[in-house]
């Protein structure tokens, strides 16, 4: 009941929720592979389908890799709250004395660690497939580092809203895709620009601002949406 006693245990709950989700993902490794395989396959099919010509692939590379990353992130959203919703863990989260937004943030962070981080790590390899220069690849990784957390955070709101629906998948894409588009535009453009040897500060600032905005607001919005979905 003492407020002073609550904050350290809130942090402990935050950490243990992240740990638990990582452990669950580890025991379900196969499910994690799906979005990653999708990411790799889409990008590797482009040279086969379009043309293996170097200049053409280079111009397409930022867009193709980013679109594939975005769709892979969307595919992976499904696992974010679903099992917790079905087995009642979400109810217990909502009934926890800790801030719901904090717990939701923990879930989003662990989701990003197992879906976003592998995408960032695979990106250089795919960049090489597409003949991207080293400078382009490092910008690609930077934009993914700033962009994939936004995808997870914004996706969490959409997922939380559509959780109670039987066929939420269609609605989820309609809700979330428009919000993903600014991230796509700024990121792909930043990579393009850096490959042309120009300054990319503007785009990076914009992505960072979007990231800060979504870290502060998305957990609150998702927690409220989850409350409605649980009811």
């Amino acid at each position: 009941m003492s407020i002073s006693g609550r904050s350290p245990s809130s942090f402990a709950a935050f950490i243990s929720l992240i740990k638990r989700d990582l452990m669950l993902s580890y025991r379900h490794r196969n499910e994690l592979l799906n979005p990653l395989l999708f990411f790799v396959i889409v990008v590797t099919l482009f040279p086969l389908g379009v043309s293996p010509e170097k200049t053409l692939l280079q111009t397409m590379a930022p867009g193709v890799i980013w679109v594939a990353a975005l769709l892979a992130a969307m595919l992976s959203l499904d696992t974010l709250f679903k099992s917790d919703y079905e087995d009642g863990t979400l109810e217990q989260m909502m009934l926890s004395p800790h801030s719901n937004a904090l717990l939701v943030l923990a879930k989003i962070i662990s989701h990003w660690l197992v879906t976003g981080v592998p995408i960032i790590l695979l990106a250089p390899l795919l960049g090489l497939f597409m003949f991207m220069p080293a400078g382009g690849i490092s910008t690609l990784m930077l934009t993914l580092l700033l962009g994939t957390p936004i995808l997870s955070l914004v996706g969490a709101i959409g997922m939380a809203l559509t959780l109670g629906l039987n066929r939420g998948g269609m609605l989820l894409s309609l809700l979330v895709l428009p919000l993903y588009i600014p991230v796509l535009i700024f990121s792909a453009n930043a990579v393009d620009t850096s490959m042309a040897g120009l300054e990319i500060k503007g785009q990076i600032y914009f992505l960072s601002a979007l990231l800060v905005l979504s870290i502060t607001l998305a957990p609150l919005a998702a927690a409220t949406a989850l409350k409605i979905s649980v009811e």
């Binding site: 243990s16 638990r20 452990m23 669950l24 087995d87 109810e91 217990q92 989260m93 009934l95």
Partner: protein
Amino acid sequence: MTDATAGLHVKSISCTRGYRDLFSDLDFQLCPGQVLRVEGKNGSGKTSLLRIMAGLAQPLEGEVLWQGRKIHHTESDYLENLLFLGHRAAIKYELTPLENLCMARSLQGCKTDNGIEDALSKVGLLGFEEIPCGQLSAGQKRRVALAQLFLTRASCWILDEPYTSLDVIAVAMLEQCFTEHINNGGMLVITSHQPVTLQAGEQHRLVLPKTQLETLP
């Protein structure tokens, strides 16, 4: 009657499901040391009432008060004192009973001296601590969830069908646990299709859709 602000006060609530009225103008108070058994046919709104009392669902009308204040205002104080176990046991099949209970305990945010292994031995799951819950039987999974009763410091327990898939020994163990809780000044709200025999506290019964509380001898 005891202090008007003590315990949990359900103040003239109504609830509908679709176009069907489940109950209306339900009004009662549950004080420390009291048991409320909610009974009624399938679909009479027992679970809906319990979810409203836990704050998971909103009543159509009316409000639920904890120590005289609306539960959504005193949220964290109420939530620290509340243990709600629903139909869905919140048990992860991939995790072991130990890991499941660790998580449940840190979510509830209360530190107790009772160890988790101690609680597991009380529910008769000694030797199953490291086995993924997916490999346990339905009754054993239920026992894992119920082990939380031995870990919590919450004073208000709201339990939806806790006896489901439990054997006779487990039911007796559970009733023993309830008796202790009530004698320590706890509150218990329970739904069950099985007869509940508790030798403690003041016992009330609510048979939905009636709105009058009966006091049991």
